[in-house]
């Protein structure tokens, strides 16, 4: 064997040894990566499951609550619809007993009703309270004016008089009607002089409540309870506790009662939210919400064990798949290693890498919306966005979408560049989408993204981020900043929007973010950007700067033109210097033509209904609307405004002698293709879209007399949307024009 052959064997051996080492290293790295992936996955799956459980629990709570409120509202309406009849009947005492009969007959939901006269109101009838009840389908008449019962001392009688408004009694067990759980709604009746003369009531049998609440079923082990305002259990999986035990008493019967007590306190304080409590040695997540009007509170309790049961199964499966994957990698490596003894040339490898980066960039760009104009059918918004990466992939992001007539948008800049930054950007963007699907509070969205990122973030990367929500109907802008530069706002002049600095995302777990808000005027605009724009550098190391930016953006132009101009101006400025940082811009022009909007200011005085006709006539004349259409729109508006007076302002509805100066604003947005009416009031929350529709096929005998108004405007209008914003009810009615 000559020297040359020896040398060849030596190199071959060396090469094989090196290959084996590289192989081992690769396997170790692969195991580590797989482990990290499964940890990350488990974490996000847990976050996801929690978010999903929260969303499901909240929507179930919401649905059940509106089911309960629907029934509560039906009973309240049954009484309220007869208040004016009762008022009228006060003059003829003998006719009074017809009213409870009317209520019980017309409202199958009402189990019993009475009108109880204030002692001494009639000289001839010191105590008078005719009572009608339905027991087993038969009407039973009796009087409550007996010395044993002594109605003037009962809670249902004294409370509404004392409070001077409708009142729901504490639920009680009805001994006469077969030990049934009941509650009573009572309402004070005033005579023409404004003196309280009587109390009108309706009894509600609560058997449906148990059925409705027990129907909530999220996980096999989850359950719900309802408590009254004094903390008595009204619905509980343990029947023996119902009406016997308050939740505080129950808490004393279990081990480590402190968390249960905290929950009780929150529920009795009419708070809503969620809490993690441990009792009897088990972890649970509880979601709770108050039920307005009755003062009850309701919750859903989900044992942690049940919540993550699916995840544990999945985790096991993942482990098995990982082992199989690893074995495959080893096999493939062994066969590839044999053929890989010849290394690929450097240029070939570079080409592959560039190709992969190109794919990564395409995937990344496909995550952000980039069809412009994004909302071609909307005339109230002109939006354009651009992202110019400095390298193949970018660490900047923007995103936007419209939900419930609100424009959600954000911009962000990840510290660092290249592939790691782009991965972080992808994570931020998907967190934004998932969190903002459930919230319309930017501070909540930003905090939630921050917490998810800070928990995970070991690479000490961070993201500056600005999240905004613009209500397209009112121009109300809510925003929350996390370390991003302030955007420009275009009013009469171009200024920087004042933003709280706050910490960037991913820096500190639990950091509190400040919510800010402003009112955007018609024709105002916003320009969000990353510092790649203002810090673009030319060959002399000068920066593009904010003054040049403002100058470029001056003048009224369409949004995409503005962005084109900025790109051109920056390119002209830096010339041959390489682009140093990603450059991202978002231009939002809020365009509601003020000519389109007209407002009439009304108050909660029923006589002002008459002004609606004149307001509508001027619109009809200008748009040459046919008479029949004007007439039906007039009807829809009248019904909606009447509802506001009767329900949202129920306590000051004029009938009871309250103030009649509470505002009701009706704004009409007149366009060629549609008329939109926005009715705003400052009364109690009242959502007409949650009221069950009347059945128009019922015969006269069984039809309730209420609910026609809502039915009418839902039918006349093409779209009815209710929102509660800043303590106001906002009802938007839209009618399409052909």
């Amino acid at each position: 064997m000559n020297l040359r052959e020896k040398a060849k064997i030596f190199t071959d051996k060396g090469l094989r040894r090196r290959t084996r080492w590289t192989g081992l290293m690769l396997i170790v790295v692969a195991v580590a990566i797989l482990e990290i992936i499964s940890l990350v996955q488990a974490h996000y799956a847990k976050v996801g499951i929690r978010q999903e459980a929260k969303a499901t629990a909240e929507s179930q709570l919401d649905a059940t609550k509106s089911g309960i409120l629907n029934i509560i509202n039906q009973v309240e309406s049954a009484v309220r619809n007869n208040v004016w009849v009762a008022q009228w009947c006060l003059q003829i005492p003998d006719s009074l007993s017809n009213i409870p009969k009317l209520i019980v007959n017309n409202n199958p939901i009402v189990a019993g009703s009475t009108i109880a006269i204030v002692p001494g109101y009639y000289k001839k009838k010191p105590l008078f309270s005719p009572y009608m009840a339905i027991t087993n389908g038969e009407i039973i008449e009796k009087t409550l004016a007996t010395p044993e019962y002594d109605y003037p001392s009962q809670e249902w009688f004294t409370k509404p008089i004392e409070l001077d408004r409708g009142y729901w009694s504490e639920p009680y067990i009805d001994k006469d009607g077969g030990e049934i759980l009941m509650t009573t709604y009572s309402y004070p009746i005033k005579d023409k002089q404004g003196r309280i003369a009587a109390v009108l009531t309706a009894d509600l049998d609560l058997q449906w409540l148990t059925a409705m609440v027990e129907a909530i079923n999220i996980y096999p082990g989850s359950f719900s309870t309802v408590v009254s305002r004094t903390g008595k259990l009204l619905v509980s999986p343990d029947d023996s506790l119902i009406m016997n035990t308050t939740i505080d008493e129950y808490a004393s019967s279990v081990r480590d009662s402190a968390p249960l007590r905290a929950l009780n306190k929150a529920m009795l304080n009419k708070e809503s939210g969620s809490m993690q409590i441990t009792y009897e040695g088990k972890k649970n997540t509880v979601y709770y919400t108050p039920i307005e009007k009755t003062g009850w509170a309701m919750n859903i309790i989900i044992p942690e064990q049940e919540m993550f049961a699916g995840l544990r199964k999945l985790d096991g499966l993942m482990r098995i798949l990982q082992v199989i994957g690893l074995l495959l990698i080893i096999l493939i490596f062994r066969s590839v290693a044999k053929s890989q003894l010849r290394f690929k040339s450097l240029s070939e490898r570079k080409e592959i890498m560039e190709n992969e980066l190109h794919i990564a960039s395409e995937i990344q760009m496909s995550m952000i919306p980039k069809t412009f104009p994004p909302f071609p059918d909307r005339k109230d918004i002109d939006l354009a966005a651009a992202l110019v990466p400095a390298k193949e992939v970018s660490g900047d992001l923007y995103d936007f979408f419209i939900r419930d007539n609100k424009l959600f948008f954000c911009i962000g800049d990840v510290s660092g560049k290249g592939v790691p930054a782009s991965l972080m950007m992808a994570v931020t963007r998907s967190l934004f989408r998932s969190v903002s699907a459930h919230s319309d509070n930017p501070a909540e969205i930003v905090s939630s993204i921050n917490n998810s990122m800070a928990e995970m973030n070991e690479s000490t990367m961070f993201v500056t981020f600005l999240c905004c929500i613009l209500d397209l109907q009112t121009g109300h802008l809510k925003y929350c900043n996390a370390g991003h530069n302030s955007p420009l706002i275009f009013t009469q002049s171009i200024d920087e929007l004042p933003v709280e600095p706050n910490l960037p995302l991913g820096v500190m777990l639990g950091n509190e973010y400040v919510l800010q808000e402003i009112q955007m005027g018609y024709d105002n605009a916003l320009f969000l950007y990353t510092d790649g724009v203002t810090e673009a550098e030319n060959e002399n190391h000068e920066l593009f700067g904010i003054e040049r930016l403002k100058k470029t953006l001056s003048g009224r132009k369409e949004s995409y033109e503005h962005l084109k101009n900025v790109k051109k101006a920056v390119a002209g400025f830096v010339r041959s210097a390489p682009q140093s940082d990603d450059m991202t811009m978002l231009f939002i022009h809020y365009l509601r033509n003020p000519e389109d909007a007209r407002i009439i200011h009304l108050t909660n005085d029923i006589n002002q209904i008459k002004n609606l006709a004149g307001f509508l006539d001027s619109i009809a004349e200008e748009k040459k609307l046919p008479n029949s259409l004007t007439c039906s729109i007039n009807l829809a508006l009248e019904e909606a405004v009447t509802n506001v007076i009767e329900y949202a302002y129920a306590e000051d509805d004029g009938k009871g002698g309250g103030a009649k100066d509470k505002p009701i604003d009706v704004m009409a947005v007149v366009r060629d293709d549609e008329l939109k009416f926005v009715i705003t009031d400052e009364g109690k929350p009242f959502d007409p879209t949650k009221i069950a529709d009347v059945n128009i096929d019922q015969d006269a005998g069984s039809r309730p007399v209420g609910g026609l108004g809502i039915h009418l405007y839902k039918n006349i209008m093409d779209n009815v949307i209710y929102r509660r914003l800043e303590n106001k009810n906002i009802l938007t009615l839209t009618k399409k024009l052909q």
């Binding site: 004016w84 029923i606 006709a613 029949s628 009447t642 006269a700 039809r703 209420g706 108004g709 009418l712």
Partner: protein, 100 residues
């Protein structure tokens, strides 16, 4: 809004004219309520001069219709215009009343 009540031996005619909107309905209701006790007679709701009706007006119609059902009388609605007819259609009132 004007309401005229004409009582005859076997019938009661109520003539509405103008707009029966929410304020008008509240104003006129006490006058119409006692008719419930006479609902064994034929009640004629003459709408020849009625131009507009809202749900509060419909409520009065329905209360009278319920009283008639309970006492074995009937309610006839006369001469409704097209706008009111479409409101009757939306609320299912076309099937509840005898309309001529």
């Amino acid at each position: 809004m004007k309401t005229k009540i004409i009582r005859e031996e076997k019938s009661i005619t109520i003539e509405f004219s103008g707009r029966l909107d929410t304020p008008a309905a509240q104003e006129t209701a006490p006058q119409l309520f006692p008719i419930q006790d006479e609902a064994d007679k034929t009640i004629i709701l003459d709408c020849t001069n009625l131009t507009y009706i809202s749900s509060s007006g419909l409520r009065i119609f329905l209360i009278l219709r319920k009283a008639a059902e309970a006492k074995g009388g009937k309610v006839i609605v006369k001469n409704i215009n097209d706008d009111i007819r479409s409101v009757f259609m939306m609320t299912g009132f076309l099937n509840l009343f005898e309309i001529c």
